[in-house]
């Protein structure tokens, strides 16, 4: 600990909590275990490595939750600052990545709350428009004309139109690939609730994306 400022920064997080016995961590197969243990010992390099490992998924989740690139980037930073601040609460009872997602979802909700729903939606719309046209092109095969950025923009905007309670579960399940159990831990709701929210979100999206997902009428 060469620099006094380093000591001031790294000590409080670890001093005020019970240190986790190595035995408690021994059985864990979490790929982040080693870095987390080093981070808990006060190694900021290990924390930086954890940030690099998870920032892409966190940013992706936040971009889809918030719909605005700048907000998502700020919220990503907030997520990792909160993670450093409250990291002592992580007990390896779940995967570290699940814990990170939980902190990220909370950061997104806090950010939306502080910004106000209306402003976020306006910005989200602007953001989606900046990626590409939202509406499908008329008079052409819808799917073929909406490939790439335009399709992403359309999907992003439809996701943003979902109620907040439905958006996070469907993003975490269908895009981030988490299991029902993991989502239940991230959102701190029962697994049955997760399933039902995903079901409702998919129904809503299916209705909104009908022009893309509906099968052509037979015989036409």
């Amino acid at each position: 600990m060469s620099h006094p400022r380093m000591a001031a920064v790294t000590h409080p997080l670890f001093d005020r909590t019970r240190s986790i016995p190595d035995a408690e961590l021994a059985g864990s197969a979490d790929p982040d275990r080693e870095l987390v243990v080093r981070w808990r010992r006060g190694e900021l390099d290990a924390f930086a490595a954890l940030v690099r490992r998870h920032q892409r998924r966190v940013f992706g989740l936040l971009l889809r939750m918030l719909g605005n690139r700048e907000e998502a980037e700020d919220a990503t930073q907030d997520t990792f600052l909160n993670l450093h601040r409250h990291g002592h609460r992580f007990r390896f009872e779940s995967r570290f990545s699940t814990f990170v997602y939980r902190v990220a979802v909370n950061a997104a909700l806090n950010r939306r709350r502080s910004l106000g729903r209306r402003r976020s939606q306006v910005e989200a719309f602007t953001e989606a428009q900046s990626i590409g046209q939202l509406a499908p092109a008329a008079g052409s095969d819808p799917e073929a004309s909406l490939l790439g950025d335009r399709l992403r923009a359309r999907l992003t905007s439809e996701l943003l139109a979902l109620p907040e309670a439905l958006r996070a579960p469907v993003i975490l399940f269908d895009i981030e690939g988490l299991s029902y159990g993991e989502i239940s831990e991230v959102l701190e709701v029962a697994e049955g609730t997760v399933k039902s929210r995903i079901h409702r979100a998919r129904q809503a999206l299916r209705a909104r994306l009908r022009d893309l997902v509906a099968a052509p009428e037979s015989g036409s």
Partner: protein, 254 residues
């Protein structure tokens, strides 16, 4: 089977069904056009969502985050530390009994001692709003909603002899009717005057410094309310010398 299958299609797409259940769904879908169409749309919806995986230009925030951590931005505040300790304590064995005791103390020892002073929306300062049980006129009531008047005494005086009054607004909302505003005003006025009389009946018990505060307030209300004569008579009936002097002054004014 159709309704059950329709309900399970989502789980089928998610791969959350047992092999047996999945095969029953497949059998049903083979013969049910509606479920076949729904299943196709659901699959397509999920495939579209999965196209959002990856492909993002992600900023590298690690350096910025570590710099902010070094600046102390991730340190917990004193409040956070105390609230975390408080949460841990409340979750512990002593938390529930102590919280119960605190609530009991609040209910039985603190709240009964609180005094409330109420402002009644009335006319402007020069006009009386405390006319005892008299109601404000219908014409003045709408205007009264936007202005506040001198404060009134309220709540039980005998419960709160030693504490100074605290301010609380009585407001008629724009949405409430003139009649209901007048009724509320009348009720609050009556309560306030009841407490004035209660106060005067117990003035001897009020500590000297507190009496002055109440009496000066009282004289203002009485003058504003046009209830000076009534108040003067009651002041005279007390044994307090200052109240006697006030009574004489009221009578002179009258």
């Amino acid at each position: 089977m159709h309704r059950r299958a329709a309900r399970l299609l989502d789980d089928y797409v998610s791969g959350a069904l047992s092999r047996r259940e999945a095969s029953r769904i497949e059998d049903h879908v083979a013969v049910c056009a509606e479920c076949r169409r729904t299943l196709g749309e659901l699959r397509k919806t999920v495939e579209l969502l999965q196209r959002l995986r990856g492909g993002l230009e992600c900023p590298d925030v690690a350096d910025a985050v570590v710099a902010r951590v070094r600046r102390g931005e991730a340190d917990t505040s004193v409040w956070d530390r105390w609230s975390a300790r408080a949460s841990r304590f409340l979750a512990g064995p002593l938390g529930a009994p102590l919280a119960t005791a605190a609530v009991g103390l609040l209910l039985f020892a603190v709240l009964p001692r609180l005094e409330v002073e109420i402002s009644i929306p009335g006319r402007d300062g020069s006009t009386s709003v405390l006319a005892g049980p008299t109601l404000p006129s219908t014409e003045s009531a709408p205007q009264a909603r936007r202005t506040t008047s001198a404060p009134l005494l309220a709540r039980r005086v005998n419960e709160s002899l030693t504490q100074p009054p605290r301010s609380m607004s009585f407001t008629c909302f724009e949405s409430s009717s003139v009649e209901s505003c007048r009724d509320q005003h009348a009720l609050m006025t009556r309560l306030a005057m009841d407490n004035v009389w209660a106060f005067l009946a117990q003035i001897e018990q009020v500590p000297e410094p507190r009496r002055d505060v109440w009496l000066s307030g009282l004289s203002r209300y009485a003058a504003d309310a046009g209830a000076a004569a009534d108040v003067a008579a009651r002041l005279r009936a007390t044994g307090d010398p200052r109240a006697q002097r006030l009574a004489i002054r009221f009578e002179e004014v009258r």
